[in-house]
Symmetry: none
DNA sequence: GTTCTCTGTAGGAATTGCCCTACACGGATG
DNA sequence: CATCCGTGTAGGGCAATTCCTACAGAGAAC
């Protein structure tokens, strides 16, 4: 019998998952938590083989909880369950010690498979996602992406984030708009984004504006 | 027996909800959909009393689907199920014809209650949320600028903030790109902004993304 | 009931930006 | 050295977007 602890903040989703797991005769939900603190507290007196973990929880979020779970003695395997099938997020989760990563989009049967896999000491990654990770992420996540930008690229980046368009920047820097366009394309590639909207989000999230 | 159709894009969440509903003897899931198109298609040959609708779905999203469901003859009651307990979002959903609004945070038992309530022709709003709606609507002497936007404008706004370009949106909404461009120009004028970057900033600052 | 304004829709002309390509230069790699 | 890679610079051509304009329907205003 594989004992599972479910950590997920949305009650209804959590209940749903418990029901799903309940369908398998070899799996059993032995505890639950709706935030990181509860989870860590729960693990102090509940023994289990697998923690099913939503990364986006309030307070101590899933990502932050992972290393702390791993620091316990005889830690359970961690299977991350995410709404977002972001390759970036998956890479970070695996890096800090998750044994698997599944998305809420995937087939429910796969979730059960994933739980069994990680309980047995193995790893599991959503197949679609694995594909994308290989392509998108060089699996080299460490320093902020924008540290890869050259001087010129960075200054174009800042101006774009502040609302300037390609022509404005060309004027400000006394360059051809074609040049700015090239810098823009290159910097977006480096930041792994495909739209100006994402650029602005990136800038705001990293407090670069 | 109350027949329910579940529209929710994340497979695992959808399955979970089906399990939950299955626990009640007077409720029965008679269909499901993972996007707005499937939902509308499904309603053409499936009869049901209640549609359980996630607002954040790809393609035709939940909010847009509501008026189209209401336009059917003998339409089912619509119970919106949302991740976000935003008062703003709830207000919009109710305005376009939803009979209830529950969040995934709420107690699963309440979900079943809510389904029964709307099936009987009543209304249901998550109690916490109702509280906040009264306060936020009542206490904000200066309504946000984006409350001036029309439905169409707002949906174009959201998509732009999420990184879609004019053509993407035109396709999603099956309109000319010129039309989208006009909506974009008008909404930007209303929001008093002049660039896409400012639009994204606005959206983030007001937690609309 | 006529007029006004807002909304949703879109066409043609004009602008802007993107994609692909190119090239020179400097530093790293071998 | 010879070569490769990253950077800064741009052009040509094509696609996306805006600008200006228009029109119809729905309510509001008077």
């Amino acid at each position: 019998m594989i004992r599972v602890l479910v950590a997920e903040d949305h009650t209804i989703v959590r209940e749903g998952i418990k029901q799903l797991i309940g369908l398998a005769k070899d799996l059993q939900v032995v505890g639950e938590a709706s935030n990181g603190e509860q989870l860590l507290e729960g693990l102090r007196h509940i023994e289990c083989e697998v923690v099913l973990l939503d990364i986006s929880m309030p307070g101590v979020n899933g990502l932050e909880a992972i290393p702390r779970i791993r620091a316990l003695n005889n830690p359970p395997a961690i299977l991350v369950l995410s709404m977002h099938d972001e390759a970036q997020m998956a890479a970070r989760a695996l890096k800090v010690g998750a044994a698997g990563y599944a998305t809420k989009d995937s087939d429910p049967a796969l979730l059960l498979t994933a739980i069994r896999r990680v309980a047995a000491g193995g790893r599991y990654i959503d197949p679609d996602l694995a594909d994308r990770m290989v392509f998108e992420v060089g699996l080299t996540d460490s320093r902020p992406l924008h540290s890869l930008l050259s001087e010129r690229e960075f200054s174009v980046f800042e101006r774009l984030a502040q609302g300037a368009n390609v022509n404005d920047i060309a004027q400000q820097l006394a360059l051809s708009s074609k040049t700015i366009s090239t810098h823009k394309a290159r910097l977006m590639q480096k930041l792994n984004i495909t739209s100006l909207a994402e650029l602005v989000k990136y800038a705001m999230e990293h407090k670069l504006v």
